[in-house]
């Protein structure tokens, strides 16, 4: 089920026409099974690059990543990924068929697939749109379908790249609450990327604060705030202040 992740001194360098770009430099961190890690940093600091390495889409140009002690490869089917990009859903599949995709790949029967898809569509409050095609949904709705799709086949590790950045504040608050509940219920290891301090403080057990050019980890902040967290409580605000100080000093 939930896996541990260990990144040892990982670097990534893009080769571009204009020369090499060091996007991530010697980052090390570890995530315990069922831990919620937030990676926090400004735009362009290498967050997506780190996520792509964790997902196995990019191979670190230096260092190594271990999941439960084994090196990462792309085809190990125990990860769910929610991408930063809206257009990640398959336009030729309805919302329900998108959510069923992972189960279908595993040969799960049609009835079981339908039932699971229904549950997760309900979770993201889109059960009414089960038969809609992605192009008929708003960007935020598509993003919620993508989350349901990544959860539906119950991967042990969930990698999420600013999944709620495009949602309105109200929906985002609601989604954050639901995500916490799903996480507490299913005990997945989650790596969650964001540039929003309040979001990180609300969700994380541990926050990695990154600095850009080249992307490095500037601080590792454990959060012991009890859950459910109240964004208006004094402790929460104090924590936010601390994290922000790390981000900007």
């Amino acid at each position: 089920m939930a896996q541990s992740i260990e990144a040892r001194n990982i670097s990534f360098q893009y080769d571009t026409a204009a020369g090499p770009v060091l996007a991530v430099k010697e980052a090390s961190f570890s995530v315990a099974p069922a831990e919620f890690l937030c990676v926090l940093g400004p735009s362009g600091c290498g967050k997506t690059t780190i996520l792509n390495m964790l997902a196995g889409f990019l191979t670190p140009t230096g260092g190594e990543i271990l999941m439960d002690g084994n090196p990462v490869t792309a085809r190990e089917h125990n990860r769910g990924v929610v991408f930063q990009d809206f257009a990640q859903l398959f336009p030729w599949r309805t919302a329900r068929q998108n959510v069923e995709f992972g189960l279908e790949m595993r040969g799960v029967s049609r009835e079981a697939r339908r039932e699971t898809a229904r549950q997760f569509l309900k979770l993201v409050k889109l059960e009414k749109f089960a038969d809609a095609y992605p192009h008929q949904l708003s960007g935020g709705m598509q993003q919620r379908i993508a989350i349901a799709r990544a959860l539906a086949y119950n991967p042990g590790v969930l990698l999420m790249d600013e999944p709620f950045a495009a949602l309105d504040a109200m929906t985002r608050d609601e989604m954050q609450k639901q995500l916490t509940e799903v996480w507490q219920e299913t005990r997945k290891t989650i790596v969650y990327i964001t540039h929003n301090v309040a979001e990180a403080v609300y969700l994380a057990d541990q926050i990695l604060v990154m600095a850009p050019h080249p992307g490095t980890i500037r601080a590792r902040i454990p959060l012991a705030l009890p859950r459910p967290r109240d964004p208006l409580s004094a402790n929460f605000v104090e924590m936010q202040r601390q994290v922000l100080a790390n981000l900007t000093h």
């Binding site: 997902a55 196995g56 889409f57 792309a74 085809r75 089917h77 990860r79 769910g80 990924v81 991408f83 990009d85 257009a87 990640q88 398959f90 336009p91 030729w92 995709f101 992972g102 279908e104 790949m105 595993r106 095609y133 992605p134 192009h135 008929q136 799709r149 086949y153």
Partner: protein, 247 residues
């Protein structure tokens, strides 16, 4: 939709009645339709149309089978692309008629060279479009499918095929047009037993312009039916419904 047809028909009639050209060369629509009716009552027209349609179907299916598979392999595997793209790019702009005589020498007269020529002449545009379609598949979709556990076969049928479909359909459309173009002439060249092309060119010997025009009309109608009933339907049911192409 019928208004433009009526307009052309009226203009045609006007020219025919005005007698600008000899009636033998420029028959009135009435004559053409009478001939059309006679030919179809005789069954001659059906025999010719059936021959042509059979060759068109076989040749085009050949092109689609070879073209879609080759194009997708080229798009999916760099080695295959490196191997075939130069040859495809070279052959693509050559008109099929240019190598038609060669096919006649190699395969003799009759249906075989006609079908093969239709296949050869129309497969390149199918290949090129299928190849481009695969190249245009969003890497994000491939990544998403991969991480969700799709194996190579599932990736092909459930991601690459639908993702490349808008391009593939374009290729099929252009391929079919190409197939028509070459088939009508090739039927003459390879002296098939029955065929609309054969009928049209044969009628020329006797200045039977009404027969020629009947053949042309049948080709036009078949083309129109294929476009409206096959391509547009498939499109509406797939890429348009998926929002990948606006109707």
């Amino acid at each position: 939709m019928s208004a433009p047809f009526l307009l052309v028909a009226a203009a045609w009639e006007a020219v025919a009645i005005a007698g600008i050209f000899p009636a033998k060369l420029f028959p009135s629509l009435e004559t053409v339709f009478t001939t059309l009716a006679e030919l179809s009552l005789d069954g001659i027209l059906w025999a010719h149309a059936a021959g042509t349609l059979a060759r068109l179907a076989l040749g085009f299916l050949l092109a689609v089978g070879v073209g879609v598979v080759a194009g997708i392999l080229m798009g999916r595997f760099q080695v295959v692309e490196d191997l075939f793209l130069p040859a495809v790019s070279f052959a693509y702009p050559i008109p099929g008629l240019a190598y038609a005589p060669l096919f006649v020498l190699w395969f003799g007269l009759g249906d075989l060279p006609a079908v093969l020529l239709v296949g050869a002449a129309s497969c390149f545009v199918v290949i090129i479009n299928a190849w481009k379609g695969v190249k245009a598949v969003r890497p994000l979709w491939l990544r998403a499918a991969e991480v969700m556990g799709a194996n190579e076969r599932q990736m092909f049928w459930k991601v690459i095929m639908p993702a490349a479909l808008p391009y593939i359909l374009t290729g099929l459309r252009l391929g079919l047009a190409q197939a028509w173009r070459i088939l009508v002439v090739v039927e003459m060249l390879t002296a098939v037993e029955h065929g609309l092309g054969w009928m049209i060119f044969g009628a020329r010997e006797f200045l039977n312009t009404d027969v020629m025009l009947s053949g042309v009309m049948v080709i036009g109608v078949v083309g129109l039916v294929l476009e409206k009933q096959v391509f547009e339907r498939v499109e509406r049911y797939t890429v348009v419904r998926w929002g990948m192409l606006t109707a």
